[in-house]
């Protein structure tokens, strides 16, 4: 009971801060917009995509990948923001309070995941420009998918944050964690024809299944067309299987985050 209260208040603080900082929502459009418009247009003009196997052009193909990118960046940053709390001192207030640190870590993961999901949903405003159609049912499917995805990433962020102590480490985290996780996923390209030196790490990257689940939820191939899912050893992943992998990854990350957060000074 007291753990639930603690989780709730930590979650609520994150939501409150997010809500107070609505300007961030506007600036958060810039990067995905550049990706979609510039990289999307640039690449699609030079590409005959996937041998015409789908009904989608490149911008449409990469669009779910861009939503995943937003969830990925926001999610990890949500967890890593603990470094800010440490820097500005608020973490002390949390750590001396009569609440369990494990509950604090889980509350933080839920808060970060909620915000990342909200940011991901906001990306749906691009739908008309990209030229895909999304039903209400698809939106309701996307919410839990993004949440599970984001929860695992925020947990990963907390795990990192409880290990790094300085603001300077931020850039390092960006360069060495977030970008590789993003680029080693099918966000911008299909995995099917990758050489194995690239195909194997992409398939080992949990983020790939987040990207895959969002792509399969947003884009529905026409009757008879091959699935867009990642194939592993001849098996094509379904949304359910993607979610199962993400949930497992998320539980492991959350467990590690709780453990690591508890054991910090």
């Amino acid at each position: 009971m007291s753990n639930l209260r603690a989780m709730y208040i930590i979650w609520y603080r994150d939501i409150l801060r997010f809500w107070r900082d609505r300007a961030r929502l506007v600036t958060s459009f810039a990067q995905p917009f550049l990706f979609l418009v510039i990289i999307g247009t640039g690449l699609s003009s030079g590409l005959a995509l996937m041998g015409g196997a789908t009904d989608y052009n490149y911008i449409q193909y990469m669009y779910p990948g861009i939503i995943a990118m937003v969830v990925l960046f926001t999610g990890i940053m949500g967890g890593v923001s603990i470094v800010w709390d440490r820097e500005f001192g608020f973490l002390k207030e949390v750590l001396v309070a009569p609440i369990s640190r494990g509950a604090v870590a889980v509350g933080k993961a839920l808060g970060g995941a909620t915000i990342a999901t909200a940011q991901g949903l906001v990306m749906l405003v691009f739908v008309p420009f990209v030229g895909v159609s999304i039903s209400v049912a698809q939106v309701f499917l996307l919410i839990p998918l993004m949440f599970v995805f984001a929860f695992s990433l925020t947990s990963l962020g907390i795990l990192i944050a409880s290990r790094i102590k300085t603001m300077e480490s931020f850039q390092v985290v960006m360069q060495l964690m977030i970008f590789p996780l993003f680029f080693l996923s099918p966000a911008l390209f299909p995995v099917e024809r990758l050489p194995s030196w690239l195909g194997v790490p992409v398939r080992l990257n949990p983020v790939s299944y987040g990207v895959d689940s969002l792509r399969q939820a947003v884009l529905t191939p026409a009757e008879g067309a091959p699935s867009l899912g990642i194939s592993i050893l001849g098996h094509t992943m379904s949304i359910g299987e993607d979610v199962a992998i993400l949930a497992l990854f998320g539980l492991i990350m959350a467990g590690l985050a709780v453990w690591s957060f508890r054991n910090q000074e």
Binding site: R5, I9, R13, R20, F90, V96, I99
Partner: protein, 277 residues
């Protein structure tokens, strides 16, 4: 948190085994800021009330009470990042009191503040002793702040070297402090030892020693001393003298970590009466 050695009880709770009860019994004001500056004062306090299990109805009243006490009620809806250093400090003190702690720890609450704010904060602290019936632990580098405590512990290199009321500590200095400048300090020390059986010490101002009754002692000293005296002065012992006598060093700011010298002052207040010792 585990103790390096030994144990302690706080408000009757064992700090090792009853952590949550202990945490509920104490209020903490850190030396460094610990507010969420992106939230308002009200939101910071609401967060605190929630994690310390203050019932909602009580919390609302209590938040108003403490904010009025530190004169921030009118600016309760403002983000803390717009607050000045003194206002943040006051808000932190208010927050430390929010959940009715039995013991309030203030780690250098007036460090780096301007004299007005310092004065203000001291007024709150003294007011608190009257109103809240709590024990206040306070660390400071300012000796004049230590003066109003009921009991003072002087900590030198991590060890308590004295623990007593301010008056008893001053008495331990041994009377009035006499400072002397002479033509020849070595000879003067020798003479004072011979005539008065007192061991004078050298410090930055010259020679100094303590006698029980300074006013009556000085004429005799001046008459008897053959070494030429350049100046002579006397003052009643202060806590600075106590500190210097006990630690033998001038006060300096913490040079970090182990070498830190810190004086810790305990203010105690019980049953609504003030003890100034």
């Amino acid at each position: 948190m585990k103790p390096t050695s030994g144990g302690a009880t706080l408000n009757g709770y064992d700090v090792r085994r009853q952590q949550n009860q202990v945490r509920n019994s104490l209020g903490l004001v850190f030396q460094d800021p610990s507010l969420d500056i992106r939230l308002t004062a009200l939101q910071n306090l609401s967060f605190h009330a929630f994690v310390y299990n203050v019932p909602r109805a009580v919390a609302r009243k209590r938040i108003e009470e403490v904010l009025r006490m530190v004169e921030l009620w009118d600016r309760r809806g403002e983000e803390v990042r717009n607050y000045s250093g003194g206002m943040r400090r006051r808000l932190e003190i208010a927050r430390g009191l929010l959940h009715h702690p039995k013991v309030l720890f203030l780690d250098e609450p007036t460090l780096g503040l301007d004299p007005q704010t310092r004065n203000h904060i001291w007024n709150y602290i003294l007011e608190l002793r009257k109103q809240e019936n709590i024990t206040i632990f306070l660390t400071t580098h300012y000796m004049d702040e230590a003066e109003i405590a009921d009991r003072i512990a002087i900590i030198d290199y991590g060890r308590i070297v004295a623990l007593d009321t301010p008056e008893a500590l001053k008495r331990s200095v041994g009377g009035d402090v006499i400072t002397l400048r002479t033509e020849n300090d070595d000879r003067a020390i020798e003479e004072i030892r011979e005539h008065h059986h007192i061991e004078a010490r050298r410090d930055s101002d010259g020679l100094c020693f303590e006698v029980v009754n300074g006013e009556e002692f000085i004429p005799g000293l001046v008459g008897a001393l053959e070494t030429e005296i350049r100046s002579i002065s006397m003052h009643r012992p202060t806590l600075d003298d106590v500190f210097l006598k006990l630690t033998g060093r001038e006060i300096r700011e913490e040079a970090g970590g182990e070498a830190a010298m810190k004086r810790q002052i305990t203010l105690r207040q019980a049953g609504g009466r003030r003890f100034f010792g």
